[in-house]
Symmetry: C2
Subunit: 186 residues, 2 copies
């Protein structure tokens, strides 16, 4: 029956995560060594390896928090059963990134990609059949979305989350609408 997590553990892990994110933002993931993280966080070497297998594991743990947070917000959209605005999820993603600029700057798009791909495929399966392989459409739209999200983050949020969602809607919905129309007519 584990009591509340030891305060030392909390502080150690938080310091390590914060240090890694800072350093990755400053130099990029590849140019950060474990030693750098240790110095920045002021944590002993052996302590690091008592908590994480390696740098990659620490990085993943940073992203896990973020992912859970985002998934929770996404989950709130589908509670009432009604389909709702199919582009609302995009708004949510951009709002989320805008609220966590540091970690979105640090995290590569590869982690995000897998998650968004899955959301996208489920969405396409339930909402409409486009007359072409679902995986192709899902990969296409997921790549576009993650790519433009990364661009937006890298360029320090040159447009508001709302504007980004609107523009993506306009770039995307035409293709979908046209396919639906053809499918209905043919």
């Amino acid at each position: 029956m584990a009591t509340v997590e030891d305060r030392r553990v909390r502080r150690t892990r938080a310091a390590l995560r914060e240090a890694l994110v800072e350093l990755v933002v400053e130099r990029g993931y590849d140019r950060v060594t474990v030693r750098d993280v240790l110095d920045r966080a002021d944590i002993g070497r052996s302590t690091f390896y008592a908590h994480y297998r390696d740098k990659e594991a620490l990085f993943a743990s940073c992203f896990e928090d973020l992912r859970d947070d985002l998934k929770r917000e996404m989950g709130l959209l589908g509670t009432d059963g009604r389909p709702g605005d199919p582009f609302k999820p995009i708004s949510v993603i951009f709002e989320h990134a805008h609220r966590h600029p540091q970690i979105y700057r640090a995290v590569g798009t590869s982690h995000l990609h897998q998650m968004i791909f899955e959301v996208m495929r489920d969405h396409l399966c339930t909402h409409d059949d486009l007359g072409l392989p679902v995986d192709v459409a899902a990969e296409y739209h997921a790549s576009a979305l993650v790519g433009i999200l990364g661009w937006w983050v890298r360029n320090n949020f040159p447009h508001s989350p709302h504007d980004m969602a609107r523009m993506i809607r306009e770039l995307t919905v035409g293709g979908m609408a046209r396919r639906r129309h053809e499918a209905a007519a043919g």
Copy 2:
């Protein structure tokens, strides 16, 4: 007045490039060491560093050949001044990838991304104004294209290049056509 390149240089560089590509396909870029490349190519250590600064430089040189080749093929499309099929470039890219499966499997999409983004932006500037920032549209379409290309390569070319180009056309053209129509009407 440099004569033809020394045969030894040609053979050395070719062996190194081939070895690196093979190993990257087998294990992924991060899991390949310089030593691995040396063993596979049967080249001495000092010889390697006489030709390339590090592993990254060798990898870049692999991609340069490919890029020049692709750019040449792309260049052949615009020689007659007529606009032609705006989706022909996409066919060319997929045909090219299909003809060089090994190196496309090895090369990450990041190198490709920059190139395709530039082509896309130029294309959008000359062809049509979409009523939203060109950079946004270019990044969106470039990301989608590179993403789906990577997916196609990773999954061992589950559709023909022609089919891929067609599907992308259908996923893309609706959005563009709709924007053009609105701009003309409004």
